[in-house]
């Protein structure tokens, strides 16, 4: 495809994304705008998670913790009448800092241990939010009676309807895609891939492994903080129930389903996890909407076995060495499989 044609395609896609919700807003289909907004928030989260899982190859099972930290930071500040922009910045900073604090010791651990540490931390955050009444108002959530989270306002313009939030989220997702794309093709992105493929070799080639991991860790949390701050202002309400382990798992599903490390893949994966239940619900009734987790579980197993590169694999992954081509793995294969053949 020539360059102008590509730009034309992207431009018209963007125009459709802006126009369609605008036209829908006073029709009965306006609930779609809200769903699209929620899908956008999940996209922000999944793009952040993809930095860690896809680019650096670290499994994180507690990513919702940083969404929670972002939401609660924004809610607490907004109740104190701090302007929206500062809330967002503070949320991103808080998520980022806490993530880095956890990351420094945790990132020295091997992959599956890291998965458990992140799972544990995710639960600690949820339990603290549930039990620390003085700060978070416990299971009842923020704001307390008599207080309120004011709707977000940008440059004096107050965001009140779902459509406004949709546009805000759309802008954030586009910015996030751009940031991820640039990072992926930068020196940092190449260092991450080197770590993912072979940590020891990367270290020997002069990549500061722990530092690069911490950078990826902190950065991913900034995405979650941003999404959390928007969520808190949009809903006007934050409870610990929004941040369970299963939500974190759902995000992992989105990334794995779409293709680890692939930005279009992650967007596609997120659309799958948000839209499939909605479609199931409207076509087959609410019984099948409950079956969505069953489908996601099944799809995780099938993807891991039959299509580990995901629905829309990243270009870089398709160029990689296959593990069986390496000598040592080849030896292991023959020993393990000797019995089966």
């Amino acid at each position: 495809m020539t360059k102008p044609a590509k730009w034309g395609l992207w431009g018209s896609g963007l125009v459709l994304l802006i126009l369609i919700p605008y036209l829908l807003q006073s029709t009965p289909a306006s609930f779609c705008i809200r769903i699209a907004g929620i899908a956008g928030l999940y996209m922000l989260l999944a793009l952040g998670l993809n930095v860690v899982i896809g680019f650096v190859g670290l499994l994180d099972l507690g990513f919702m913790a940083f969404y929670a930290i972002g939401s609660y930071t924004a809610a607490i500040l907004s109740i104190q009448k701090v302007p929206f922009v500062w809330c967002v910045l503070a949320s991103m900073l808080a998520s980022c800092l806490i993530r880095i604090l956890i990351g420094f010791p945790a990132l020295r651990l091997r992959g599956d241990y890291l998965a458990v540490v992140t799972l544990g931390f995710g639960e600690v955050v949820r339990l603290v939010a549930t039990n620390w009444d003085a700060l978070t108002n416990g299971p009842k959530g923020l704001p307390r009676v008599g207080q309120s989270i004011r709707p977000a306002s940008l440059f004096g313009f107050e965001l009140t309807s779902n459509l406004h939030y949709y546009y805000l989220i759309l802008a954030c997702v586009l910015a996030a895609v751009w940031v991820c794309e640039r990072l992926n093709h930068s020196r940092v992105g190449r260092a991450w891939v080197a770590i993912r493929e072979d940590e020891v070799a990367a270290e020997l080639m002069g990549v500061e492994v722990t530092r690069q991991k911490v950078v990826a860790f902190g950065l991913s949390a900034a995405f979650a903080g941003l999404a959390g701050a928007i969520f808190a202002h949009w809903e006007g309400f934050v409870t610990p129930e929004s941040f369970t382990f299963w939500e974190s798992v759902l995000l992992v599903c989105a990334v794995v389903l779409g293709g680890m490390g692939s930005i279009p893949g992650v967007i596609l994966g997120t659309l799958c996890i948000v839209l499939v239940p909605e479609i199931l619900r409207s076509v087959l009734g609410s019984y099948f909407a409950n079956a969505r987790y069953l489908l996601f579980g099944l799809s995780l197993i099938l993807m891991a076995i039959y299509r580990p590169q995901g629905l829309w694999p990243s270009k870089r992954r398709t160029h990689e060495l296959k593990p069986t081509e390496a000598g040592e793995d080849h030896a292991r294969e023959t020993l393990y499989d000797a019995e089966r053949k």
Binding site: G57, G111, D112, L294, I301, I305, Y336
Partner: protein, 298 residues
């Protein structure tokens, strides 16, 4: 008061230890965290309850309960075996992330299968026999706690002898030490891995049944907390180390009971404590209390 919490903690801890054995044995032979193990535990509780309800129609409740436990032992062993066969074995040679993702998939699948097809509410778990209360040195304990402790200890001692004294046990230890060399010595590594899953699943199933009896109710999501805590116990004792998992479980159970008993509002925070123990152990002593340091393979 201390004695009281000690008894509660021992009961809880012996359940954790039974589950932790499943994690630790599988980790020993495959170097993989079997995330689906907590769901096997949950299935054990459901199998035993369903059997108990069926069987108590034509046999005395206590016998029906024992039959339920035995069936959950068998069914969960088979379940773990099937999971290994279907979801993990094809991924032996894949990257480390792949079996972990598959395991999470299995976990979601099992939990939601129970949610959809058995019950989305918590089910009451009736007491199969009359519970007698005893008092000794100011501490109150009951026959149910004694039964749980008894079954758990018999199983653990049997496992200990099985692993250390039989040929099959030696093969399991050899596979855990070095699968490649073990296969060169004529040990059928794949069958040994399957047997490990089989044993781990059986113990997890019994733990589920006992847990259901102890708390009096079961639910489709009951596996997550005890599962994570048992994993903590396995890490605490040094993952891959069988006596370590038993001690880790008991230490964690006692610690949790002490926190719940002696810290104000402790029962709200006891889950946080378990996770904090996990985080601290992983961060500062990832080899656990009884494990020996294994350097990463390059």
């Amino acid at each position: 008061m201390i004695l009281q919490q000690l008894i509660n903690g021992l009961t809880l801890g012996s359940l954790y230890a039974l589950i932790a054995l499943g994690y630790t044995m599988v980790y020993g032979v495959l170097l993989m965290i079997n995330f689906a193990h907590s769901e096997i535990f949950m299935c054990g509780a459901f199998v035993s309850l369903l059997c108990y309800v069926r069987f108590s129609a034509f046999m005395p409740p206590a016998q029906a309960f024992l039959a339920g436990i035995m069936l959950s032992f068998a069914v969960c062993a088979l379940l773990a075996f099937l999971i290994e066969r279907i979801a993990y074995r094809p991924l032996r040679r894949a990257s480390r992330l792949a079996p972990l993702i598959s395991a999470i998939g299995v976990s979601i699948l099992l939990q939601n299968a129970v949610f959809l097809w058995i019950s989305d509410q918590s089910l009451a778990y009736p007491h199969a026999f009359e519970i007698k209360h005893f008092e000794w040195l100011g501490a109150r304990f009951n026959s149910l706690q004694l039964l749980i402790l008894g079954i758990a200890f018999v199983l653990m001692i049997t496992l200990h002898f099985f692993v250390n004294k039989t040929r099959l046990g030696t093969a399991i230890r050899a596979t855990a030490q070095d699968a490649t060399t073990a296969s060169l010595m004529g040990i059928p590594v794949n069958s040994i891995i399957a047997i490990t899953f089989f044993i781990g699943g059986a113990l997890g199933g019994v733990a589920g049944a006992l847990n259901g009896m102890y708390y009096g109710s079961i639910k489709y999501n009951m596996g997550f907390m005890p599962g994570t805590k048992a994993f903590t116990a396995a890490v605490l004792g040094g993952i891959g180390n069988i006596p370590g998992a038993m001690w880790g479980g008991i230490i964690l159970g006692v610690l949790e009971a002490m926190v719940a008993g002696f810290i104000p509002n402790g029962s709200d925070w006891k889950d946080v404590i378990a996770f904090l123990v996990l985080l601290i152990i992983l961060l500062f002593k990832p080899d656990g209390l009884f494990g020996k340091h294994v350097p990463d393979k390059v």
